[in-house]
């Protein structure tokens, strides 16, 4: 799909507007407080200039973000792109979530409307530049007609439309209605990037103020009159189903209204959240484990290891790997590395609100990462035509991949809970933290077997990597997400082989912030570091010598070495580790400084980070994403694992045994952005992959041995 196909006709612009009008169907029972939370499409009283831009009579410009805002910054980034080409002033910019519609708001990287793969800026850049430039041309045309002057003589700067010859001047608002009726240009003229005035500036984020005074509305905050509150009792084994339920005690809890068995578990409906939770606690549920995963994590690890050496899917095979291991004077190194299941644990657990209108149509409010998928699945579960379902994307309290699911299983559950009611009352469905940690859709367990060969001259001549784990994409053959970062190794090694084995488990897998790079980045960057150390090579110089075909890797690595003054004296008791990983088109190199803490665990003092993400739309957001990605990665590599105990029972349940990084454990972070005129690439995920291996490399150099099993600090495991 191209931008032109979407937006060069007035008709297609109106198709976008028409969807927004769906909101007039909002039911009467909807309270005023709930309406305040509605964000999809924004205020319908504003003039819709095109699918992405609305302009108010007060001169405000509202960008309809096709990407969900959950902290990674699309509201700000996408608005920056629009404002740049529109020549708007930053103070007049606003952002809201767009409606759910693949045709208009699809992610151009994958067709479906969705946020993921760090694509929000990358896939929207050209599209929103054109949308902004088109809106500018429409405003100019409207002003030219009104003022009776040639459009070519009109200038626009910082939100003011001016005609020097006549001295006429106006804001956007006065021409918003008229602009919406002008004919858009077939190919709007875009700026030369050297003339950018907003792109590249550290503009304040649009969503900050509401997030400092409690007024930002998340799904959990949606409130409707006469609303039901529902929670679901889930099994503590993956693949278990309800065998029998004794709900007598639960029904006696004041405020509990009903208990129903649904495919996903047992739903408790109540007048308020606490009654629902108390009712759930009072249930006695017997689970059928006949189809459940009953192996422990230790058994799974042993079963994974059995696949090494058997036939797998070949992801890379150049040169002659076996021969490279047999040459004269060749030294070899071997390692098995085990990666645990990881929960995403966003601060806001999964939740959704459903409201049925008088005409039978349904509004869904949720942190929709795949809005059209959520719409389709809701319609299926409720037995409705998809056009009778409106998905109203809300700000989400994090996701890290959790809310982007094929088949929308959590929305399917929430819809099933709603479908089991008479639909007369609005309903909020909430997962507790325990439901979240034990809910699956984890970064899968993986096991890597690494073999490296170094010739008599100290050169790495052979690399043999085998990866065992679930296919996130549910593939029977090679899943690229299992081998990304390994099969396309940036280092020049003449003999390279990467093999992948898919395993099938009842534990549902999912992408987790940076997907395959969460494990391949760790395996590649720790093993390479060990090989270099074995032959006495410097970790930075040794890598650079092998990156001759990757200039952007090299530049990023050189930059971070310069920032950290690599090679200078390190304080007593500390060591440094380095790693460089390209993910989602963005290059990130990090150097960490680590000591052994009083508790014997790694203490990460400082992280230097260099990032090359092409054109830097908003350096403020880019730095924030690097800082946050680093913190997310440090927490996971130090502390996090979901483990299955004896019989497959899930061990962890909440933040006491699935640890999050805390402020006292957060390293100081310094970020530098490599200047670039390349097309922008994403930053939401790429900050994560290098920090884990960099820590492990420093940890090994502190004398603790190589990290062969994550997390480094084992808590609550079996």
């Amino acid at each position: 799909m191209t931008f032109n196909a979407l937006t060069t006709t007035r008709r297609s612009f109106l198709a976008g507007a028409g969807l927004v009008i769906g909101f007039t169907l909002a039911p009467k029972v909807f309270s005023a407080s709930a309406l305040e939370g509605v964000q999809a499409g924004g205020d319908k009283s504003l003039s819709q200039i095109n699918a992405f831009i609305k302009i108010g009579t007060d001169d405000t410009v509202t960008v309809l973000s096709k990407h969900i805002e959950f902290g990674q910054g699309p509201f700000t980034g996408l608005s920056t792109i629009v404002a740049e080409e529109l020549d708007a002033d930053w103070s007049q910019m606003r952002a809201v979530h767009s409606p759910a519609d693949d045709k208009i708001y699809g992610n151009l990287a994958f067709g479906l409307q969705g946020t993921g793969g760090s694509t929000s800026i990358a896939n929207s850049y050209d599209q929103l530049r054109k949308a902004g430039a088109t809106a500018r041309a429409l405003l100019v045309a409207a002003a030219a007609a009104e003022w009776g002057v040639p459009a070519a003589e009109i200038t626009v700067e910082k939100g003011r439309i001016k005609h020097a010859g006549s001295g006429k001047e106006s804001g956007f608002g006065a021409f918003a209605d008229k602009a919406a009726t002008q004919t858009p240009p077939a190919e709007p003229k875009l700026k030369d990037p050297k003339d950018f005035v907003l792109i590249g500036q550290e503009l304040p984020k649009l969503d900050t103020v509401s997030k400092t005074n409690g007024t930002a509305v998340f799904t959990l905050d949606i409130t409707a009159d006469n609303m039901l509150y529902a929670v679901v009792a889930h099994p503590d084994h993956f693949g278990a189903t309800v065998k029998s339920v004794d709900d007598a005690a639960a029904r006696k809890i004041p405020g509990v209204l009903d208990v129903k068995t649904i495919p996903q578990g047992v739903a408790v409906y109540a007048e308020n959240t606490f009654s629902a939770l108390k009712g759930r606690d009072a249930l006695t549920v017997e689970w059928d484990l006949s189809k459940a995963e009953t192996r422990s994590s230790d058994q799974l690890t042993a079963d994974f290891a059995k696949l090494f050496g058997t036939d797998g899917h070949e992801a890379a095979n150049t040169g002659d790997v076996e021969k490279s291991f047999g040459g004269n004077g060749v030294q070899t190194l071997e390692a098995d590395i085990v990666f645990p299941f990881l929960a995403h644990a966003p601060m806001e657990p999964l939740d959704a609100v459903f409201i049925k209108a008088a005409d039978g149509s349904v509004d869904v409010f949720n942190g929709a990462q795949f809005p059209t998928m959520d719409k389709k699945v809701t319609a299926q579960v409720l037995g409705l035509d998809p056009e009778k379902v409106r998905v109203n994307t809300q700000l989400a309290g994090g996701s890290f991949g959790r809310k982007a699911q094929f088949g929308s299983p959590y929305i399917a559950e929430a819809a099933a809970v709603f479908a089991a009611t008479d639909g007369k009352r609005p309903m909020k469905h909430m997962w507790t933290r325990e439901d979240d940690i034990r809910g699956g859709f984890y970064r899968p367990m993986y096991m890597h077997r690494m073999r490296g060969a170094i010739d008599a001259n100290g050169n790495v001549v052979g690399w043999d990597q085998t990866i065992v784990g679930q296919s996130i994409m549910a593939k029977a053959d090679l899943d690229e997400t299992s081998v990304e970062g390994a099969a396309n190794l940036p280092y020049v090694i003449p003999n390279l082989r990467v093999i992948s084995h898919n395993v099938s488990l009842a534990v549902p897998p999912l992408w987790w912030r940076s997907v395959g790079h969460t494990h391949t980045g760790f395996a590649v960057e720790t093993f390479m570091d060990e090989l270099l150390q074995k032959v006495g090579k410097d970790p930075v110089e040794g890598r650079l010598a092998l990156l001759s075909k990757e200039p952007r890797h090299m530049e990023t690595l050189k930059k971070v070495a310069e920032m950290a003054d690599w090679g200078s004296a390190v304080p007593e008791g500390r060591q440094r580790g380095v790693a460089v990983v390209k993910s989602f088109g963005t290059y990130v190199a990090q150097i960490v400084e680590v000591s052994t803490g009083d508790d014997g665990a790694p203490r990460v003092h400082k992280v230097w980070c260099a990032v090359d993400c092409g054109v830097a739309i908003n350096p403020n957001v880019i730095k924030a994403q690097m800082e946050g990605g680093i913190g997310y990665g440090v927490g996971a590599v130090l502390f996090d694992a979901v483990t299955l105990g004896q019989g497959g029972k899930i061990v962890q349940s909440n933040f006491h045994d699935y640890r999050s990084l805390r402020i006292n454990e957060m390293p100081a972070v310094e970020v530098a952005i490599i200047p670039s005129s390349e097309k922008p690439t994403g930053v939401g995920e790429p900050g994560v992959p290098p920090v884990g291996p960099a820590i492990a490399n420093a940890w090994r150099r502190l004398g603790h041995g190589a990290v062969r099993r994550l997390p480094i600090v084992s808590i609550g495991s079996v």
Partner: protein, 152 residues
């Protein structure tokens, strides 16, 4: 019947006395700035001020709040609150924003007790507030900045 003061106003609650303050605020008072994150006082997203001190509202039964004064993110005022908000906005601390009400309530309390906190003071006061976006780097900076503006 439980009576308490909420952001300066007298309120009553006659439901289940075991109901945590968090759910009274959110479900009954419709003050949704205070968030649920864990339910077991591990994450701090539900932090409010109870009689002038930080309290995890998710484990505070409403029965224990009788006669007390509760301040939430919607009602927090004073020079510390003003300084914290300004500092938060100036360096764009929030990412997803879900934990930030709790972070701000803890930070305001810290500055009320310790107007010029050290990094160790910040660790001590803020370690109970999880931010999964890991905005910690900016939270620390913003607290220092807020302290500076209060001083100056």
């Amino acid at each position: 019947m439980i009576t308490f003061k909420l952001n300066g106003q007298e309120r009553t609650f006659d439901g289940d006395p075991d109901t945590p303050l968090l759910w009274v605020l959110r479900d009954f008072e419709k003050l949704t700035g205070t968030k649920y994150g864990c339910g077991i006082a591990q994450c701090g997203a539900c932090t409010v001020h109870l009689d002038g001190s930080t309290r995890r509202s998710c484990i505070t039964p409403i029965s224990t709040v009788d006669g007390s004064e509760v301040i939430t993110i919607e009602g927090i005022e004073g020079k510390e609150a003003e300084a914290v908000r300004k500092a938060w906005i100036a360096i764009d601390v929030p990412q997803c924003g879900y934990c930030q009400s709790g972070q701000i309530m803890s930070a305001v309390s810290l500055l009320q007790l310790t107007p010029k906190p050290t990094d160790e003071d910040i660790d001590g006061a803020m370690a109970g507030n999880i931010c999964r976006c890991a905005t910690y780097h900016r939270i620390r900076q913003a607290i220092h900045n807020a302290a500076d503006t209060m001083e100056g």
